[in-house]
Structure formats: C-alpha cells, structure tokens
Amino acid sequence: MIRNYLKVALKVLARRKFFTFISLFGISVTMLVLLVATAIFDHSLAPQAPETRSERTLGIYRLTMRGPENTQSSDPGYGFLDRYARPLAKLPGVEKVSLLSSAQPAVSYVGGKKIESQLRHTDGEFWQIMEFELLEGGPFTVEDERDARFVAVINETTRRRFFDGQPAAGRTIEVDGQRFRVVGVVRDVPMLRFSSSADVWVPISTSKSASYKEQWMGGFEGLILARDRADLPAIKAELQSLLREAEHHLPDPKRYKTLTAGADTLFEGLVHKVGLGDSDKLRPAAVKAVLFLLMLLFMLLPTLNLVNINLSRILDRASEIGVRKAFGASSRTLVGQFVVENLVLTLLGAMTGLLLAIPVLAALNASGVLAYARLGLNLRVFLYGLAMAIFFGVLSGVYPAWRMSKLHPVQALRGRSV
C-alpha cells in the first residue's frame, strides 16, 4: 500500500513542477535555517569534549542580591563560591566541585606582534571534571593551583600563534604581562562552550591581585559534578539551604537582605548567560516553550503555502479520490494516504535542506564568527531535522488531507470539489 502511495506521491509532484519547486524551495530553506540553528544549539549544549559529563554537571552561573531598594545581579564571585559552593563537595552525590573564572581578553606580544587571547583562571579540579583532548603534556594539578605555580595549558591555536605550531610543552608563554610555563596543549574548544573554552588556562592563584578571594559578585562560576544524574535534585536543594545560611553573612546587610542563585544545567546556564533568565520569573521551561513557539512561527509560512497548494490540488485529484472511495477506501485511509504523500514532499525538502546545510555550516566554521566552532551534521542533528520534517509534514498535510477525504464520492467522480 505504501509503495502505491509513494508512486502516486512522486507522480503528483512531477505533474505540477512549478508548484513542487516552490514548495520544495520553501521547505528546504526553512529546514536549512532550522538545521543550522539546531547545529549551533547542539554544539553549545550536547555532551562533547571537553564537557563530556555535562549531563551530570551543574553550574552556579548567576547570583542575585536583593534589598528593599537595591538589586545586584551578576555572575558569582570567588569569595561566595569558595564559602558556599565548595562545601557541596562533601555531599555523597557530588564527585567534584570546581571554581573557574570567565574567559577574559588578554594581550601578548610575540616578536612585536600583538596577540589577543582569551584567558581563563581555573582550579585543579576543573581538569578533573572536564575531559580535554590533549595534544601535548597534561593539565595543571590541584597542587599547582594551591602553590600558585605559574603554569599554563594552551590550545592549539595559541601554540600556532606563539610557537609556529612547534611543540610547546615546557616552553614559556607571556600573557597579560605574566610568564607561564606551558604544561599542556589541548584541542581548540568552541567559544560556544562558555564554561570550558579559552585560549590559555592558568591557576586562579596566579591572579595579579588577591582581592578576588573576598568578592561575592563577579567574574567566576562554580561547577559541580554529580556522581549520577539522579543526584542533581539533592544538590540543587542543598545549595538552596546553603544560600539561606549565606543570607546571614551578606557583605552589605544594610542594602541587601536576600540571595538568589541556582545550580543550573548547561541549558539553564545558557539562558542566564544570554540574559533571558535574569528575572527569577522567567524559567528555562518557559524559554524552551518560547523557542518551540518561534520554531513553529518560522515554519508557519511554508506550512500555509503547502496547505494552500494541497488544497488547490483537491480538484485535480477529485476523480482519484472518488475511485478510491468507490473501491473501498474509508476517509481515514485517505487521510493516511495524503499525509504520507505530504511527508514524501517534506522529507524531500528536508533532504535538500540537509544537503544545503553542509556547505553553509562549513562556511560558518571557516568564517570565524563563532570562534573554534566545528559545526556539523551529526546523527543527533540529523534526527532533530528528521523529527522537524515529520512534524512539518504532518502539520501541513492533515488539514488538506481531511478536506480531501471528506469529498463526497459521487461529487468527486463528477470532478467537483464541493
């Protein structure tokens, strides 16, 4: 039966080439944009080196202090995290806790040439939570950080810029006026991975000033690696309990009375980072719903176009509908047939969109707009694309199919649509 449907579907598409082209063009461009967006999301959020354990990792990305007249909100400071996030390591469900700074621009001069890098300060545990792809040497350790050793891990782009791609382990690099001994070289991490990416990673304790140790607000984030995903709710709850305690020790108790922070998943963290979640009221679930709604709106135009074309084809196919009904097709069977036909069209469009996405993603990677991005079409993105195409196909096919199936057989055999 399906084979018969497919034959008819392809013939119908070939019959009205111009409309088919318009439909396919609309679907392919829609799918192309959605696939590129999906690839960027996937590249930002899916577990991949070095954030291979992201599914059981929580981050403290945002801290808000509120008082009767004042509100201050930013990424947390080392002082706060050291006092109230580090103790989470004692929980049975927690494997590691790491504190790390945001990546900051840093300037170096090599042979009179200015080089701008992204510098990140981390502790030793950071290298135990993350799984970087090492090209040379190894990461720095908890002891390196504790003893404030001037050691650094650099990425392959930094090795190329500073050492012409020659082996860098054991050599010295000067970044932001400080000299570090390179202990390891890792593969470039896309800047989209906001908790791990940088050009140069150095111990927190090598910071130029020690003032960061007391600060509650700004410049840092905390990562908590759970032993199992099932432990995440307990960790979140424990952080809230620590926050209640922290409220008794606020740095400026006259101005601020309450403290808000969350142990967030990577997606929730991204929501906060891009500023969509600054208010406590705007939850990531709502952001997901908005994203889904945007996707639907984006699909609406080609969907309406396809619905319209399908409706205009009812008259073309009246005789066939009449015949099928006369020979035993129920309305439900016909709905199935027309939805399958529409799915064939949308899957063809999706396939074209998929093929177009390959050069577009390659161009995006080469452009450097998203530093170190290696956007691509992996199986996950492909499956998302397939799901979107099926959703799109059903969405645009059901109504015209229902209309077609409701044709009265006698009217249909006379070639009338009503």
């Binding site: 008819v8 005789s319 015949v323 006369a326 020979f327 035993g328 097709a329 129920s330």
Partner: protein, 220 residues
C-alpha cells in the same frame, strides 16, 4: 441481493429541492443482468450510486444481501463496497499516474493481503479482460476500449458479487462497446450480478430485464 424499498432521493439547495428519484421499489436477484434505461437526467446514475452505497437515500431503505445499509458509518460502507461491489464508469476513472497493473490493484490495497497475492490477482484480472500484455503501460497509452477493459479488471479483481456499470460503453464506438458487453456477459455467466445503466437499447436487449426510469420515477 439488492433491495430498494420506497427509495427517494432529493437534492436540496437554499432555494430549491430537486427530486432525483421518487419512490423506487426494485429488487435485483443474485446472478441477474439488469439494465437501467431512461432519458438523460431521469435518475439512472443516482439509482446506481444508491445501489453502490456511494450515496444515501433521502427516504426509503436500501438492503444488500438482507442487510440494511441505512445509517451505516463511513468505514462500514467502505468495507461493503470493497468486498461486494465493483464499479465500472463511463469515464473509466483510471488514475493516470499509475500503471495499468497498479490501477487494477487499487481495490486490493484496502484488504489485508501480501504484495505478491495482490499482484497475482491483478494479473489474473487483466488476463481475464485480455490485457496481460499491457500491465506496464499507463492509461493514456491505451485506447478507450482498452482503458475500459482495465477498468473492468479493476472492478473484478476483488471478486465482488455485484458489478455496477454506469454507461460502460458510452465513450466507445460500437465495436469496442460490443467487446465490453461480451466481457460483462461473460462475467455474468460466471455468476456475477450485473446492473448496467445504458442509453443503448441494443445493449439493453442483451440483458435479462430492463428497468425504465422517467423523471425519477420507475415506469417499467
């Protein structure tokens, strides 16, 4: 086999009501070959559509093998049409995008059977109408007579007990018309009940009896 009891069919629009059939009482028994005649617009096709469960009467009862089909749902009617009735139309109504073989297979798509069985039955039906050499052709590549033979193959492929033919020779010349009539007679001889709408008295004479309609009423 087919019983129509005081059947009427009215078509209503906002302003007018047209009576297409008025109080028809008709019984077609198993194995009969019945022709329906009358001037254009007298309700012949409407009567055939009611017998074929393609339309519902405005009043009266339609029974098929003793079972009333009044008020049956879409799926139940579709099943009866699929299993018991084969249609042959004046315009052939072949699906132009499908090959001859695929066209003939259409009624079997709505039955639970394997592709192999379906193909075998379709080939046998085409053989029965003398078109086994044209299975891969498309309808537009065939003459009118050949197209109608494909339509007959499609009508008989599911071995229905009733064949309803709406002016099956209306679009054909007399020689091709005779060929089609020969096939219908042959099928009737093999046990099929045939009801045929026709304008041609010569063809009507070849059937067991003729029902005549005039202005929606049965006159004979």
């Amino acid at each position: 086999m087919i019983h129509l009891d005081q059947v009427s069919k009215m078509y209503r629009t906002d302003r007018i009501e047209t009576t297409a059939l008025d109080n028809i009482n008709l019984a077609v028994e198993k194995g009969e070959f019945v022709s329906i005649m009358g001037p254009s617009g007298c309700g012949k096709s409407t009567l055939l559509n009611l017998m074929g469960l393609l339309d519902e009467p405005s009043a009266g009862k339609v029974e098929l093998d003793g079972i009333s089909i009044n008020g049956q749902g879409d799926r139940a009617l579709a099943r009866v049409r699929n299993e018991r009735i084969g249609f042959i139309f004046q315009q052939f109504h072949l699906v132009s995008d499908l090959s001859v073989l695929d066209n003939v297979e259409i009624p079997l798509l709505y039955r639970k059977m394997s592709n192999k069985e379906r193909r075998k039955a379709a080939l046998a039906a085409l053989d029965r109408v003398g078109l086994s050499s044209r299975t891969r052709h498309f309808p537009t590549q065939l003459s009118g007579g050949q197209q109608q033979r494909v339509a007959i193959a499609r009508a008989i492929v599911g071995r229905p007990s009733i064949l309803l033919a709406d002016e099956p020779t209306g679009n054909l010349d007399s020689q091709m018309g005779d060929e089609i009539m020969d096939i219908l007679e042959g099928l009737n001889a093999e046990g099929a009940t045939v009801v045929m709408v026709t304008h041609d008295p010569r063809l009507a004479e070849r059937t067991h009896r003729t029902v005549r309609l005039f202005d929606g009423r049965q006159v004979q």
